[in-house]
Symmetry: D2
Subunit: 348 residues, 4 copies
C-alpha cells in the first residue's frame, strides 16, 4: 500500500485526486494540505466525499505529516510548487507535480511565459509525465512534471503523425475548447455562472501559457523546432477538452489514405488502454470521456483542401490532470498502470 500525500488539495484537481484514490486498492491518502482550509474536514469542503474520504486538511506548514508519505502530489499553483518540491526531493520523496513549474525544459522559455524560476536545476531532472510517450522515463523518475490539460490532448493526437512524418509540421493549428473546471476553483466574475452559461468565447488567443508546452512536446518528437497556432475557448460545461487540430497532409489524396492514418494510430497506441482510436469519420464527444482517464481520438481527411483534421477528447481533470497523475503514480510504484483508473465515464 503506497502512502500518498496531496499538497494544495482544496481545488478541483485536489478533489479529483481524492475521488480517484478513494477507489485505488494500492494507495492510501494519509495527508492532504490546504492553506485556506486547514483544520476543516474534507467532507465540509467537498460534501460529495462524505463517507468516502475521512480526512482533515492539514496546515501545509506541518511538514512532518507530509513526509510520512512515500509519494507526494503537488496540486499547488505554479511558483508555489517550485518552492516546496526541492525540499521534498531532498527528503527522498517521489513527487508528481501538477503545476507548470517543471514541465518546460528551457528555463528561459519558462521565465518568458510564467516569470522567475527558483529551482532551475530540477528542470532537466524532471520527467514529463505523459506515460504513452515517456513511460520508461517515468518508471525511474523522482520528479514527474504532470502535463497540462491542453497539451495532453494535443500531443497525444499529433505524436504518431509527426513520428511518421505525414504532416507538414509548419501547418499545425490547434483549436481547443475547455470546460470551466479548467479555470480552477475560485471566486471570479469571469467564471461565474450567469457570465458563462449560454455563452462561448475564445480567450488568451495566441498567448496561452500551454503554447510553449505543446511546442516543446511536438518539437521533441519531430527532432526539430515546431511552432503552432493555439486558440483556447471556454465551454459552458464542467469538464472536458475537445481539441480540433488542423494540419496539411504531405500526401492527402489517393485511395486508402484514411486507412493508412487509422493504422498509424493503431500501431502507436495498440497497447494503450486509455487511448481509444475511432474509425475515420467518427468523432469523439467530451461526454464520452467525462470522469474517465480516456483520450478519444477521431480524424477526417479533408480531400478538397489536403488537410487532416484530428479531434481529441479528454476529461481535463482526469487524463488532463489528476487521472494522469495517478497513472504516473502507478508506473512509479511499479503496479499495473490502470489500477484504480478503469472507471467508466459518466456519459449521461
Amino acid at each position: 500500500m503506497m502512502k500518498v500525500a496531496i499538497l494544495g488539495g482544496s481545488g478541483y484537481t485536489g478533489f479529483e485526486l481524492l475521488r480517484i484514490l478513494a477507489n485505488h486498492p494500492q494507495a492510501e491518502v494519509i495527508a492532504v494540505t490546504s492553506r485556506q482550509r486547514k483544520g476543516e474536514k474534507v467532507e465540509k469542503v467537498f460534501p460529495g466525499l462524505k463517507n468516502i474520504a475521512n480526512l482533515t486538511f492539514e496546515d501545509p506548514a506541518n511538514f512532518n505529516a507530509i513526509l510520512k508519505a512515500d509519494i507526494i502530489f503537488s496540486a499547488l499553483p505554479h511558483h508555489a510548487s517550485m518552492e516546496i518540491v526541492p525540499n521534498l526531493l531532498k527528503n527522498r520523496k517521489k513527487v508528481i507535480d501538477l503545476s507548470a513549474d517543471f514541465r518546460l525544459k528551457d528555463a528561459k522559455v519558462y521565465e518568458a511565459w510564467y516569470g522567475k524560476h527558483t529551482a532551475k536545476g530540477l528542470l532537466k531532472k524532471a520527467v514529463y509525465g505523459l506515460p504513452e510517450l515517456y513511460r520508461e522515463k517515468v518508471k525511474d523518475a523522482a520528479l514527474v512534471a504532470n502535463p497540462g490539460c491542453y497539451p495532453t490532448g494535443a500531443i497525444l493526437g499529433l505524436a504518431p503523425l509527426i513520428k511518421e512524418s505525414i504532416i507538414d509540421t509548419g501547418s499545425i493549428i490547434i483549436d481547443s475548447k475547455s470546460g470551466v473546471s479548467g479555470a480552477g476553483r475560485a471566486a471570479l466574475l469571469d467564471t461565474s455562472f450567469a457570465e458563462v452559461n449560454e455563452g462561448f468565447k475564445a480567450y488568451k488567443v495566441g498567448e496561452h501559457r500551454h503554447t510553449p508546452e505543446i511546442e516543446q512536446g511536438l518539437s521533441l518528437i519531430a527532432g526539430k523546432n515546431i511552432k503552432i497556432t493555439f486558440t483556447p475557448h471556454l465551454l459552458p460545461v464542467n469538464r472536458g477538452i475537445l481539441s480540433t487540430i488542423y494540419a496539411s497532409l504531405k500526401r492527402a489524396r489517393g485511395k486508402g489514405q484514411g486507412a493508412r492514418i487509422f493504422n498509424i494510430y493503431k500501431k502507436y497506441y495498440k497497447d494503450e488502454f486509455f487511448i481509444r482510436i475511432m474509425p475515420e469519420g467518427a468523432f469523439p464527444n467530451i461526454s464520452q470521456v467525462k470522469g474517465s482517464n480516456f483520450c478519444d481520438i477521431g480524424f477526417k481527411i479533408d480531400e478538397r483542401t489536403g488537410r487532416l483534421i484530428v479531434i481529441t477528447a479528454i476529461d481535463n481533470l482526469v487524463k488532463g490532470a489528476s487521472g494522469q497523475a495517478v497513472q504516473n503514480m502507478n508506473i512509479m510504484g511499479n503496479i499495473p498502470e490502470t489500477t484504480g483508473l478503469i472507471t467508466p465515464p459518466l456519459s449521461v
Copy 2:
C-alpha cells in the same frame, strides 16, 4: 462470480447497469438484450463504454442466452416486463425488475394508474427493493421490484419521521425536481435540448404515477392510509432528484427539536452507508450525489409555522434505479452490500 443478464439494456438505466457492473468484482454481465439495437456492439450505442464493456446487444428472443445468467435485471418498460418475468421465475432465475410492474401490491391500484396487469399473482410475492427498509426480505426474494426514482428519495426522507410519529401524516407535500435522464433515452420534442435548457416547469401535477407508490410505501410504515400531494418538476440537468418535503410537526417549538430530529435520522440510518444525514440547516445538492448511490438528507424546522422541511437528494439513475438494483443484487447474492458501489460522486 455472479452471472448477470440485462433485458432492455439500450436505455439510460441499461447504461448505468453496464457502467456500475463494469467495476463490480463479483458480477459479470454475460448478456444484454435490446430489441432495437440487437446485433450492435454496446460500444456503438454507448461510445463511453468502449474498452469497458465488450458485449453485443442480443435479440431478446434469444432466451437461452438470458437463461445462462444467475440473476437478471429487467430494464424493460412497464407492461413489457410483466410479459417476461413470470417465465424467468419459472426457470428459477432471480429477477430484479426496474419497471413499475411489481411495485404496487394492490392490482387495482396498479390498473388504475398503469392499465391492465397480466401477472397479478406475482404482486404479493415481489419484494419492494428498498434495502434500507426491507433488507431482510430482499435477501430471500426471487423477484425484487426495484423502487421508482421519486419514491426512493421521498420514502427514505420520511420513513423515520413516520415511524416515530412526529409528523402529521395528513400534511405531507412532496415537491420534487428531476433531471432529464429520468424521462428515459428517447427522441421526444419535449425533452429536446432547446426546449429544456434554460427552462423549468412542473409536469403531471397531482397525477404522476409515482404517487401511489409513495403512498403505499408511507402507508405501510404508518400502518394506516396516507395520502400525499406530489408535484414533479423537470430540471435542466442530466441527473439528480431533489425532493423538498413539507409536513406539519406534531410538536414543532421548544428547544432541542432540531437535535431530536437529527438523532431520529441518525438512529434509523446509523448503519446505512448510502444514507448521509446532514446537521439541521445544511442541505443537500444533487451535484454531491451525482454518479453515486448516496441519498443525502437535510432538514430544517420552520418554527414560525410549525412545519418540518426535509430535503433529500439522489442520483435518479443510481440510487433511484440501477445503483439500488445492484445493491439489491448484492443482498440477494449474499455479498457485502456496498460491493461495486463505493464510487465517489462526480461532484464537479
Copy 3:
C-alpha cells in the same frame, strides 16, 4: 421624453434597466452611476450594449448629473439605497427603489431581517410597486418600493385566491426556484459555474429575507396576519423564477371547482396585459417568460388531498425587478403602462 437616471447600474438589474429603456420610446437614460466602474464606458462593462447604450458610468458622487433626471431608479443594494433616497426626494425627484429598503411598512420587521434602518420616516410614504394590486397608489407616488423577485411571483399567484377567501390562509407553502442572476453580479465561489451547473439545492430554508415581504403582501390582502413557509432553491439557469404554491382549499371537491378558480383569476386579471392565466392542468415554464415582463399562472386542484397547487413563472430580472420598475415608471409618468415592455420572451 422622461429623463431617467440609474444609480448603481453595473449589476444585472442595471443591465436590465439599460436594456429595456433602450427600446422605450418615451424615456431616455441621461445618467448611470457605478462606484466600481465609474469612468468606464457602459459597453465595456456590458459588451452586449455596444451600439445600444452610449453612456459612461458616472461617479455616484456626481450628484448634479443625477439631479438632471426627472425620475431615478436606484439599483443600489439595501442600506446603500436608504442613504441616498431621502436626498433625492428632497430634490423633488421621483424615485423607484429596486432594493428592499422601503418595501416593509414596519421598521421593526425590517430591522429584524435586514438590520438598522436610517430613513424610517419614509416607510409609510413609500408605495409598494406591484401595479396589478396598487396601480392607483403608484400613480401619485414620489417613492416606489419595487417588489422583490420572489414576492412578485408569490403574491400575484395568491392575491385573487385570498381576496375570494377560497383557501385556508394558514396552509400556504411556497416552494420557489430561481435562476442564478437573482444572486446578483458578483465574484462568489457559491455562484461560480462549476459549482452551480448540473447542481440544484435549496438555500436559506425558512429564513430568506423575502419571507416577511410576502407575508406583508398577503396579510394586507387578507386583512389579517398570514404566516407562510417559504423555500427558495437555486436553479442552474440564468433567469427565471418558478414558484410552486400549495394551499388547502376551503372547498376542494365537487364539479366545477377548476372552472371556478380559473374564473376568479380571469376576473381579477382580465385587464392585466402582463398576467397570463392558463387553463387548469396547463403549467408555466420559465423559458416562456424569459426576457419579458409576463407573469404566467397555472393551477391544479389535487382532489385527493383537497389542496390547490398554483404555479407562477416570471423572469426575475424583468417582472421580478427592472421590467416591473419600468412598468411603475410608466404609471408614474402617466404614459401607457405597457410602453417599452411588449417584448416577446426569448423562449428558445
Copy 4:
C-alpha cells in the same frame, strides 16, 4: 404597413420571425402556415407568444390566405421551398427564402450537396441576402435567398480581408461552434437534452452543406475560386454561433499590423449598425449577441506563426436566419434597415 406571410412557421425560425415582427412598427403578420400544426393557435405551439401573436396556423393548402400578403417568408425546409416559391413569384409576391434552395448560383453544386433542384431557372435571379455585401441588389429583388447561419458569420468576418488581399486565400480554416437551435425544432435522439448537455463534439467534419455556400461567397469577393476547410461543432447552448477563422497573412510581422487590420474592418463596416468591430485582442462571446441581429468581430495576429485569427459571433436564429430576413424585408420594403431590429441582446 407591410402585410407579411410566413410559410412553415412552427419551427424555431418561424418562432423568431413571429417574435421579431411582433415588435416591428411597419409590418404585420397576416398569415402563418404549418402543415403539422394547422388549425392550432400560435400560442399553443409557442406559449411564449401568448398576448403577442394572436394567430392560428393556416393549412399551407390555403393559398389565398398567403396571397393576401405583400411579402412572404419561407421557413420551409429545402426542397419544400423550391416547390412553392415559383408560384409565389408568378403571383408577383416578394419572397425571402430561409432555406438553402436559392443560395447557390450553380445548380450542379446545389445538386451535388442537396440533391435534385426543380427550379433552376430561379437560381440566377435570386439575390443572396447578405445586406452588408449585397444591399443594392436586395433592394430590387423579387426573391432573396437568405444566407445560412454558418456562412453569415464566416463571410462577414472574411470579406474585408479578402477584398484587401491581405490573407492567403488558400489557407482559410473555419472552426465553427453552433447552439442546438441550429438543428431545428425536432424530436431527435441526437439533440435530446441528456445527449447534448455537458457534451461537445464536431459533426459533418469536412462535409457540411454550408461549405459550398461559404466558398461561393468568398470566391465571389476574391474573383477566384476559394476552397476552405470547415468544421462545425455542436455547443450545449440554445443559440449562437462562434466561428474561429484562421488564415495566413501575406505580411504578418512588423509594427502596426493590428491597427491596419482594425482599420480595414472599420472602413468596410463603418456604416453597418449590426456589425461591431472589437479592437485587437478583444474577442466576442455569443452571449453578447443573443437575441439580437448583431455580428461581433474580433481578431488577433499570431505573430509567431504569421497567421491571423478572426472570431465572429452571431445569434444563429437572428443574424443567422430570421433577423437577417427581416433586415432584407426592410430593404426590399424601402424602410430604414434597422426597423424592428434594434433589440439589445439578452446577454444574461
